[in-house]
Structures are given as C-alpha cells and as structure tokens.
C-alpha cells in the first residue's frame, strides 16, 4: 500500500486549494517540516513566517480572522496546542474566530526527537475549548479532504497531522463529512474505535480477531469534536464492547470522548489503547509503537478483554 505522511498532505492541500479559496498561512519557523513551505512557494504574498514565537502567531491569526480573512496557523502540535494553548483559548476560541490550526508532528510517532516533541496531550487540551472542531485524519486522502472541510467550516478548527508515513487506504471516491465517523468494517462482537495513525493498525487488529472467529467492527473517528455520538451509541448497543485506539494519551483524547458518550447513553465496557500516563522517548516509529503499546497485537488483546467484560 502506498504511504504518505499526513503533514505532506497538509502542505499539498494548502497549495492546491490556494486558488479556489482566499486564505492566509502562518508558520513559526517550521514551514519546511509542517510543509506549509509548499504553499509559501506558490503563494508567497499570502504566507507569513512569524518566527519562533508561537503565542504571538496564534493571536496574530486571531487578528487576521477578525479582519475578515480565513487563516491557517502552523507549528508542531506541542508548540501549537501546548505552548500556545491560552492564546488559542482566549484569542481564537472565545471569540470563535475563523482560524485553522495546522498542527503537525503530533503524537509518539514524532520518533527520534523524543519526549519534548512528542505531543500526546493536544487532543485533550483542544477538546476543552468550547466550539473547537478537532480533525485527526488517518491518511493522505482523508487529510486532504479535512483541509478543505476546515476551510468550509466557519469557526476554529484544530487539524492534527503526523510526521511519519501512513498507508493510504481510502480511495479517490472517499467522501469526508465533518462530524461523521466512518464504518470501515462491520462486526458484531466488539467495536474498535480508532483515529488518525491508529486506524490502519485497528484494521489489522480486526483481521487478527476475524481469524479467531471474532467479528470486530472498525470505526474511523476523524472528527474528535464534535464526535459522532449516534455512530458510537449504535456500536455500543450492537456490539456491547468498545476498544479505542489513538496515538495520544489515554487521558482526555478519543478514549475519554468515547467513554463520555457511551457511559451516558449505553454503558458498555470501553477499554483504551493509547499512550499511558507517561512521557515518550527517542526511538524509531516501530520501536516506539511497540514500547508504548500501540500495535495491532495490543488492540487485539484489549478487544478480547473488552469482550470478556461484557455482561
């Protein structure tokens, strides 16, 4: 299967959409890594480097939006959601301005740069901001579609992209609908709810389960906020056990969001696969996924546990 990092998709999508839509792009000295450089090369008059000053960049973006322009502000997830949290909350979120935050290098798959750069907390942080839309695409096709959906949506959007190459499993005919999860595979015994980089791994885990006669449903939740309540509740009712999978802390991310929905509407076991309450470290992507429990085997194991917890 062909692979591409979703940050590459982000840069390419910005450049491709630059003619159809009127928007600005900001970066904080990471354009070469976030791939906004692709847009900058094509539309230099609409690209503004803010230097290594992410807090200022987010509030500048708010001012640009207040003056009527849609704007993307890009950095690594750590320095966007992390360092500039309060600027995003107060300058962008509270006045509900039309700023799109393009956060790349999210999660543990940043790899060798290690813990200071591995942001496993961004979804949790952004989820607490009222009115914030959070998109976490799984592959190139979805990432490209998510960028356009963000432009079309009025209000703040947090887009989460990865550093490492992810398999492209969606076809050219894929239709992205903001706020609507995708059922990638139907199943009756358990549901694996995955997001971002973990989606293709969740599909592999489902195959492992099938070999043992366990019918696993797989949902791709690309929009973490607003989350697709109906799809999750349906899965809880029909399969009776859920496992979430995300390249993010088990605290506050997809797992928490799913548990919040299910516990209120249809309480069933919800087990979470993600980075436990700890920091990352340097290593290759496969080594990190193994070390932090983010493999198909871990999902498979959790699925069986979830099934055993069914009443």
């Amino acid at each position: 299967m062909e692979k591409k990092a979703t940050r590459e998709s982000y840069g390419a999508a910005l450049a491709a959409l630059g003619e159809k839509y009127d928007f600005y792009v900001l970066d904080a000295d990471l354009a070469a890594a976030t791939k906004t450089s692709v847009f900058a090369k094509k539309y230099p008059e609409r690209f503004f480097n803010c230097g290594i000053a992410e807090g200022n960049m987010m509030s500048v973006a708010a001012g640009i939006a207040a003056a009527g322009k849609t704007v993307f502000a890009s950095s690594f997830a750590m320095f966007a959601a992390g360092r500039a949290f309060e600027q995003i909350r107060n300058s962008i979120g509270y006045p509900h301005l039309n700023v799109k935050i393009g956060a790349t290098h999210a999660g543990i798959t940043v790899g060798e740069d290690g813990a200071t750069h591995q942001c496993n907390e961004d979804i949790a942080l952004m989820r607490t901001i009222p009115g914030m839309v959070i998109l976490n695409p799984a592959d190139d096709v979805e990432a490209t579609a998510a960028v356009e959906a963000a432009i079309k949506h009025t209000g703040p959007v947090y887009l989460r992209f990865g550093r490492c190459a992810a398999p492209i499993f969606n076809g050219a005919d894929y239709k992205f609908e903001l706020g609507k999860g995708v059922t990638l595979k139907d199943g009756a015994d358990v549901t694996v709810v995955a997001t971002g980089f973990m989606v293709h791994i969740a599909m592999e885990a489902a195959e492992m389960l099938e070999k043992e006669g366990i019918s696993a449903r797989v949902l791709n939740i690309h929009t973490i906020k607003p989350i697709d309540d109906a799809l999750l509740i349906k899965a809880a009712k029909e399969t009776g056990a859920l496992v979430t999978a995300e390249e993010h802390s088990v605290i506050g991310g997809l797992g928490s969001a799913v548990a919040e929905v299910v516990s209120a509407a249809c309480p069933v076991p919800v087990l979470r696969v993600g980075v436990e309450d700890t920091y990352g470290r340097s290593g290759t992507v496969p080594a990190l996924l193994e070390a932090y429990g983010l493999t198909k085997e871990h999902i498979y194991q959790k699925a069986k546990e979830a099934i055993s917890l069914k009443k």
Binding site: F48, A53, V60, G63, A66, S91
Partner: protein
C-alpha cells in the same frame, strides 16, 4: 488646537470618566485606575482620529482599536457609549449576569469592540494581524493597540513588536499607557520593563513620548504616527493612574476596586 476643540475634548473625556465611575460603581468591581488613565487618549482617538461607524460597527473600512490592556474595559465601554454604539445607561449593566458588557472586552456581543481581550499580551498581537491584513489587501484603515506598562512585562508584547517591525506595519500605532502602577505596586519595582523608548526603538518602532493627558501633544503624536509610512509607531504616554478623581490618582489600591457610595458621589462631583 483651537480653544473650542480643546474644550469639547475635555468635556468628552469627563463624560468618559463619569461613565467609568458609573460602570465600576454599579458593578461593585472592576478597574477604575487604568481606565481613568487612558480616558483622554480614547476621547481623542474615537472623536477626532479614528474613522468609525456606530451605525455599522463592523464596517470593513473602519479604523480598529484593540484594548490590549483589556481590564480597562470600563474606559472602552464609556467611550463607545459616548460615540453612540450603545446607550450610556447600559454602562450600569457592566459585569452583570444578564448584561452584555463583560468584565473584559467581548467582540462577539458588544457593538464597537474590535477584539476580545483580557489576557495580557494577546491584544497587541491581534492588532498586528489586523494591520497585516490591511497592508496586504491595500486597505487604508489604521489599527490602534493600547498596551499597559505592566502588560509590557509579558514576553508576547515583544514577540508582537518584533512582528510589527518585521512586516513594517506602518498602519499600526501602539499606545503604551505609562501610568507607573500595576497590581502589586510601582511597575519599576515589581519587574522593571524600562526603558520603553530605547527598547521600542531597538525593536524598530517610530517612538514618540508624550504627556497622555495633554490633548495638543496627543494630537501631534497621532498626526506624526500617520505621517510615518515605513514602520510602526509607538506612543509612550505618560499618564496618571486614576486621573481626574483626586483620591484615586497614583494610588495602587485603585487598580481593581470599586468605589463605595460616598466615594462614587465624590468622584462624580469632581468630574462635573
């Protein structure tokens, strides 16, 4: 400046100061000191300098003002009421649960408020963003950012200053309200951010220092700011915290405290 203009401005500033006192008194909380210190500058900007449109507050061609020192919202609200964005009566609803005049400026719900502020250091950056759009899209509006002296201890103020200078935002004018006091005491004792003039010059600003209560100096400064077309301007306005109410002047305790009834009546009397 002719006598009539001066007298009109003085009258406007007095009404703004009375509005500040009305608002804070009825709210039983708020920030009178730093509101009173910027009343003359806001009076001049909103009645003599800025192109605004109270009938269409979001008019795209309007000049913008970002009150980066957002806690002095009572001054901005009193000025907006003076200009007709809403009724001066509404000032009495400041900070009330069913009112729209939030403790800090809210652009979503208050006519005439150009940017939501309150968290220090953020507003000046937003003003940069507005100025950047103006310059890029070749619109001729100007953007004003009112920054507190204590606020200048925030690192983001200097990130924004770097940005304004880098992108030659000559349509941006920063007003530094140098009233000398912040919550915990004299600014120079809490964390000395001076010398502002040298720092702002080093950051690439056209720096003008004035007495922020002298309308002739205020007029000259804003005129000079407009004439400067290659870089942003910073006006360092030496002001008196609590200006116009004798017992509030230069008193750190009046940073964020409402007057009681006796003090309220005395303040209004002084502002007749």
């Amino acid at each position: 400046m002719d006598k009539e203009t001066l007298s009109t401005l003085e009258g406007t500033a007095k009404r703004i100061r009375r509005g500040i006192i009305e608002g804070v008194y009825h709210a039983k909380s708020g920030h009178p000191g730093g509101s009173l210190s910027i009343a003359d500058i806001l009076a001049y900007l909103y009645t003599k300098e800025m192109h605004i449109n109270p009938q269409n507050p979001k008019d795209d061609t309007r000049d913008r003002l970002v009150l980066s020192k957002g806690h002095t919202a009572p001054a901005l609200y009193a000025t907006l009421a003076e200009c007709g964005f809403f009724s001066p009566e509404e000032l009495k609803t400041l900070r009330k649960i069913d009112g729209r005049l939030q403790g800090h400026p809210d652009m979503k719900n208050i006519p005439g408020v150009d940017m939501t502020t309150g968290s220090l250091g953020l507003g000046i950056s937003a003003a940069c963003g507005m100025a950047l759009v103006g310059k890029t899209e070749q619109k001729d509006y100007r953007v004003y950012a009112v920054v507190g002296d204590g606020e200048s201890e925030e690192g983001q103020v200097w990130e924004a200053s770097m940005f304004a200078s880098h992108y030659k935002l000559s349509n941006l004018c920063v007003i530094l309200d140098w009233n000398g006091l912040q919550i915990d005491g004299p600014v120079e004792k809490v964390m000395n951010p001076t010398p502002h003039d040298k720092k702002l010059e080093a950051f690439g600003f056209n720096v003008i220092s004035i007495d922020g209560h002298d309308f002739e100096q205020i007029e000259a400064a804003f005129t000079a700011a407009k004439a400067c077309t290659d870089r942003p301007t910073a006006i360092i306005a030496k002001t008196v915290k609590g200006k116009g109410v004798s017992f509030m002047e230069n008193q750190v305790g009046w940073h964020g405290k409402a007057p009681n009834e006796e003090e309220y009546l005395l303040a209004l009397k002084e502002l007749q």
